[in-house]
Point group: C2
Chain length 327, copies 2
């Protein structure tokens, strides 16, 4: 097997860039993954000999994505996507502006032939089981119902290669299990999934928000608005409960002592339910691997994200996506 | 002050009806709240002398709401709504079929003059603060953007009378805080809220799913599809984490012992985050108080729901809603 092309890492993207990003990249490199950094080399500190692609501009976390990508041709995000397009890198990873990451990947790598719209696939933790793949979790605020057939196909391929699920069960996010439930968008998407025999994937019908974190479904498809609301609601609920739990345990001295005893269990739960547990989301439908990490990514999360990118290259997921989608 | 008209309770509605419903009603009666039961009197067991309105039919939990309500004129739900309409009761409470409860209330009590569509307002727990009012959490799968102005007005009145919040902050659920974020529905709703000066309420702009369980907002308005997805996603996330927590604490003997010490704290959290913590949702916009409880309602939850109904009558919330909505 030929050596893998490097993973290109946007060293300037994220709330803790560049220091935590570079630290994560160095750990990933020590894991044996070839890395290319991109950014302002004089701001990166000690890069441990990693090669750096120079990029003079940085797209801010809150910048308008489309115009920034079009205007800032020498930004780290655009240069990262170009490195994949030009065959210098096998995958890109960024914890920067999510919209700009998508736009860079879309405009520079291009869409997989026949894909109507790329979608962001996010992993939702499911206690005691494999996570649930949720897509679109935010790439397309406005969707056509028929796009969800391709989301189902891409999500199933991703669940298979990312999570090792043999024949993933795909559900449509709605507000009742019966086929007639939902708004007109959900009803039309249901009809499109049925009419296409779900494009060859195992469609199990409607699922509800409460099913996302259960083992009753492997892939959940929805439009990017509803998906993003669901994702952030789940994150917020977990954060609220964990915060309340820690606060309750900081009360009575006996409770504090008991919490100390439970530290290993609580630490395990914290890691399992943390948004960074799975190393970032993947943009499915572009001609290359593009991993989108949380803005709050630290060195550990960046190491995980680079590991996922490398694994997605190794399993050749983009080729599998290319053959899976209906045209 | 004249004695309050009774609260009418659908004794046949809910997974644990009639036994838990009647038990809850008896406790509420012992609390001093006048109660009317409605259902099949020969199935209710000992009703402790509470008056029973006879109703021969029961609308099943999974029945199609509209046609059931039109067809089953002698059902407990329809009779309950009629009791409010006819001035025999001040409020209705049901843990039965949610859609049929709404339809009964809407068809028998009627809408408040000028209200385009009633909406379900649900309380979302917020650690260390008052809960957040989410509406519409499922009455209208399909909404017009301009309806959200009335949802904002009704939600603010409800937050004031139900939670004692003086000048509730109202946010629009979207996928980014900036005004331009969201799908076309959210953008149009934003424009309608701004154009109407939010109908006289304190509109703070867009909020995200992660804000629902924080103290950053008091009332969150959205369409009934997105609201229902968010509500069920939050419930599912809390359930998943609590289940994982209890499972983690049932492992090592030391962990089990520590969990025993923490029983008061865990019990408090469980109660705070349980969907029944707040005694049910309220259908806002009909000409009467209508409290919709979870299907899984037990005696305690029913007692709470009846208490909420009584409180909403006492504060005359329907009259306040009537004067608050733009026509």
């Amino acid at each position: 097997m030929s050596p893998m092309l490097p993973v290109v890492v946007d060293a300037m993207g994220g709330d803790h860039a560049p220091s935590e990003i570079v630290a994560g990249a160095l750990t990933a490199a020590a894991d044996g993954i070839p890395i290319l950094l991109v950014g302002r080399s004089d701001e990166l500190g000690d890069t441990g000999g990693l090669e750096v692609i120079e990029a003079s501009e940085v797209i801010a976390m809150d910048a308008e994505p489309g115009s920034s990508v079009r205007r800032m041709k020498d930004s780290s995000l655009v240069r990262a996507a170009e490195a994949v397009r030009d065959g210098r890198a096998s995958a890109m990873v960024s914890a920067g502006n999510t919209g700009a990451t998508m736009a860079s990947a879309l405009l520079r790598m291009g869409r997989i032939s026949g894909v109507a719209r790329p979608a962001i696939a996010t992993l939702i933790p499911t206690p005691g089981s494999t996570p649930t793949v949720l897509l679109d979790s935010g790439a397309n605020a406005e969707c056509q119902p028929e796009w969800l057939v391709q989301f189902a196909q891409m999500g199933a391929v991703f669940a298979h290669h990312r999570l090792g699920i043999a024949d993933p069960r795909v559900g449509l996010l709605s507000i009742g299990e019966e086929p007639g439930k939902g708004n007109s968008f959900a009803k039309e998407a249901y009809a499109a999934l049925v009419a296409s025999a779900a494009g060859g994937v195992r469609f199990i019908g409607n699922v509800e928000g409460r099913d996302l974190m259960t083992d009753d479904v492997d892939v959940v498809v929805t439009d990017g608005f509803t998906g993003n609301v669901a994702l952030k609601t789940a994150e917020g609920a977990l954060k609220a409960l964990l915060t309340a739990l820690l606060s309750a345990m900081a009360g009575r001295p006996e409770a504090r002592a008991a919490a100390d005893v439970l530290a290993p269990e609580l630490d395990g739960l914290y890691k399992e339910f943390h948004p960074d547990a799975y190393g970032g989301a993947m943009l499915l439908g572009v001609r290359g691997v593009c991993i989108i990490s949380h803005g709050a990514t630290n060195a550990t999360a960046m190491r995980n994200a680079i590991g996922v990118a490398s694994e997605m290259v190794r399993t050749d997921v983009v080729r599998h996506l290319t053959t899976a989608v209906d045209r």
